[in-house]
């Protein structure tokens, strides 16, 4: 199993390097939100993912939502969220966020015990709020730009930095280490379907609200990751000027 993951990781890294090289622009400080030099490839991947979602994932998620009471869905979310504890904590530490790492260790301890193996989330009620960290964010935190937009098959919107992050993080999830592969795959399926079920309405709304769904998702992904990397810091003066000046003239862009 480990060698399979090793090979997958290698594949991802090689693939990502190729994309980053193909996309040119090495080490640009601030990536424009729509930097997408391999758009035709990305659109094809996006279309492919849409087919998978439309024919397999969304129907499964709808069925799941129909069968499972909300409380169960919530508990399943909590359970898998709790299993992300090593990813979040390792990346808190890699970004020298000691307080956050303490919170996440505390969350894991509380939710695994009082929260019955993570099915409940008493930690949030005690003020131990969930942090959102991953290796892609860690790389961003230390100044690595995301690189060009990249749509991965099955995993969806990404960029070279986050694709490496995804591969690295897959090493620090809890369950693969002590559970047989069949169960891991089963658990992963439940995680994915349950996760998709939580956003059925939101995704439908975004599709309806967008004039160009591909561009809308690309832009939302880039904005969202940027905010996660800088932990919701305020926009710079220049960014505000670009976004909120009703009379844009010469200066910017």
């Amino acid at each position: 199993m480990t060698s399979v993951r090793m090979r997958t990781l290698l594949f991802v890294i090689v693939f990502v390097c190729l994309v980053a090289a193909g996309g040119g622009a090495p080490a640009v400080a601030a990536e424009p939100e729509n930097h997408d030099p391999i758009e035709p490839f990305n659109r094809a991947m996006f279309w492919f993912n849409e087919q998978v979602d439309g024919y397999v994932l969304e129907p499964a998620a709808k069925g799941w939502r129909w069968i499972m009471p909300n409380r169960v869905q919530r508990s399943v979310s909590n359970f898998f969220q709790n299993l992300r504890f090593p990813i979040v904590t390792v990346n808190d530490l890699l970004q020298a966020k000691l307080r956050k790492s303490a919170t996440d260790v505390g969350r894991f301890a509380v939710n695994t015990t009082v929260g019955v193996l993570g099915f409940f989330d008493p930690a949030s009620d005690w003020g131990l709020d969930q942090n959102n960290e991953d290796f892609g964010q860690t790389l961003g935190f230390w100044g690595l730009p995301p690189g060009p937009y990249l749509v991965l098959p099955f995993f969806g919107p990404s960029d070279p930095r986050d694709a490496v992050g995804l591969a690295v993080d897959s090493f620090s999830t809890v369950y693969p280490f002590f559970v047989a592969i069949e169960y891991t795959i089963g658990a992963r399926a439940v995680d994915v379907v349950n996760g998709r079920a939580q956003v059925i309405d939101q995704i439908r709304d975004i599709k309806e609200a967008s004039v160009d769904y591909y561009t809308a998702v690309r832009n939302a992904y880039r904005q969202r990751r940027k905010v996660l990397v800088n932990d919701g810091a305020e926009m710079s003066e220049q960014e505000q000027e670009d976004l909120y000046n009703v009379e844009p003239n010469g200066g910017e862009k």
Binding site: E33, N34, N70, R71, R74, F120, D121, P122, S124, D125, Q198, D201, D205, E208, A209, S210, V211, D212, T215, A216, R218, N219, A220, Q223, R224, K226, V227, L228, G232, E234, M235, E237, Q240, E241, L243, Y244, N245, V246, P248, K253
Partner: protein, 215 residues
């Protein structure tokens, strides 16, 4: 579990609001809506009150929500920001058309949420002054049995009123998002095509009323 969190949050908010009220009293003898924070809180409260009113039919609720939102959003500024440098390439007629179609598009797509209201509450969590005298008011939508959603509003003063010019959901700015979509379409097919596209999309969905022109 979520009820606990809700109680905690609302009591914390009440304390903040109380402190803020005290702090605001001596220096400004003005109503809540004269501040950006007050405007957002008032708008959110009004919307939630309508949504929670079971005596209204869905179309009535939608109409009322639309009226409240229209009164507090500046759709002309929103449209100009979304079109950015392309705005001045449009003829005045096209500009009016765009504002009206975009307004209707937003109203239709987001107005649908009225039907799926599930006891969510909007809580103001902070505010700060921004460049060009704008204000950002931070809120979160507290959902029973689901994670909170962070929503920031950017407001700009027009005359005596504060009006919303952007909504930032979990860090994703509506203005930036639509700008990127529209930029692509305008570059490829021109502004006229974009207006037609919006009109077609609006015609397909059911809307409540013909949109007003301008703001």
């Amino acid at each position: 579990m979520s009820r606990n969190r809700l109680r905690r949050t609302s009591s914390r908010w009440l304390a903040t609001a109380f402190a803020l009220g005290i702090a605001a009293m001596p220096c400004r003898g003005v109503g809540a809506a004269d501040s950006p924070r007050g405007t957002v809180q008032e708008t959110a409260d009004a919307v939630v009150a309508v949504l929670a009113d079971k005596s209204l039919s869905t179309p009535q609720r939608r109409q009322k929500v639309e009226d409240i939102v229209y009164a507090h959003f500046d759709f002309e500024t929103l449209s100009r920001l979304v079109l950015a440098r392309n705005w001045k390439d449009l003829s005045p007629t096209q500009q009016q058309e765009f504002v009206s179609e975009f307004k209707q598009h937003l109203s239709m797509t987001y107005g649908k949420n009225v039907e799926t209201y599930n006891n969510e509450k909007a809580v103001v969590t902070g505010d700060r002054e921004e460049a060009r005298g704008d204000w950002t008011v931070k809120t979160k939508i507290v959902r029973p049995g689901a994670e909170d959603i962070l929503v920031d509003y950017r407001l700009r003063k027009e005359g005596n009123d504060w009006r919303m010019i952007d909504v930032i959901i979990e860090g994703v700015s509506l203005v930036a998002n639509f700008r990127s979509q529209f930029q692509d379409i305008i570059t490829k097919d021109g502004a006229a095509r974009l207006i037609t596209l919006l009109r077609e999309k609006n015609a397909k969905g059911e809307s409540l009323k013909a949109p007003g022109t301008g703001t």
